[in-house]
């Protein structure tokens, strides 16, 4: 539980201070490493809310990175069980 929370706060700090090519892959890696890492979706929302352009034509356009993470979390769940990744 503690590594999950620590990772969340590290990623939160990364979103606020680091280039996107560091925090975006890091979120995806965390998503693969921890089982059902729903915190990634919150982080995805944060990226889209802080840095995304405001386009009001459907949720997918307003939150593209979150949508990607949501789809990825669904895809990774069965694959992760077979690969026995991380925790």
């Amino acid at each position: 539980m503690i590594p999950r929370i620590v990772t969340f706060f590290i990623l939160l700090l990364a979103i606020g201070t680091m280039p996107f090519w560091i925090y975006m892959p890091a979120i995806v890696v965390a998503l693969m490493f921890f089982p059902f890492y729903f915190e990634a979706i919150i982080l995805g929302f944060l990226v889209d809310v802080l840095y995304g352009s405001h386009i009001t034509s459907g949720l997918s356009f307003v939150f593209p990175f979150t949508l990607f993470l949501s789809v990825f979390i669904i895809i990774i769940l069965p694959i992760r069980e077979r690969l026995r990744l991380g925790y």
């Binding site: 606020g16 201070t17 280039p19 090519w21 944060l46 352009s53 405001h54 949508l67």
Partner: protein
Amino acid sequence: MIFVFGALFFSFSRGLMVNIFSPLWKGENAVAVGFRNLATFFKSKNSLIEENQILRDKLASSELANISLQTISDAENSLLTNFGRVSPNKFITAAVLVHPPQTPYDSLIIDAGAVDGVSLDAEVSLPEGPKIGTVTEVFSHSSRAKLYSSNGEETNAVLERSEVPVTLVGRGGGNFEIALPRDVAVEIGDKILSANLASTVIGIVGDVEMKPTDSFKKVIVRSVANVYTLRFVVLVP
């Protein structure tokens, strides 16, 4: 479920989130300036003298260029005034809190908001003049601007060499793309101007791609602004 509830919550808390993160970005900028000053402290005397001389030469050359540009600008303004088109003289200078690559979608967060007189769709320019984007969201003490180079963003412009109207399509990272008929002459280094009366340079042609069988050529344009190092912008409300 998480996505839907998150979307509802975060849709209404955009301003709040930007306000929460603003002190961090401002602090980060202060730390960056501190580090720059620290690096200067450790430079040797000779290198500083050398740098000083180079900067003096650059300043003299820039002042000359500025005087000649000022003359052209005055002539342009008087011409516009004669035709009843007065250029706006109210500007808001703002510091850039966040710029690419921290923002993944070619957007900026700037430290001027509704309190400072920033309005929606205000033009964002470099202090030197070229326009780089528009304000898409205004918060109380900050605002968000979308750069013209944002992916998929379309901007009307003019290719200076042949005065052909073109549509710049943003490709991210300060880059644009134009599709031009193969007969239109375009070369690397050509200027792309904004399509308004007092046109300014938006970009420079960086590459031209065309296969022998293509009827169109793909022109890659890079923005005149280095979006990765922006520190200040000027807003026309």
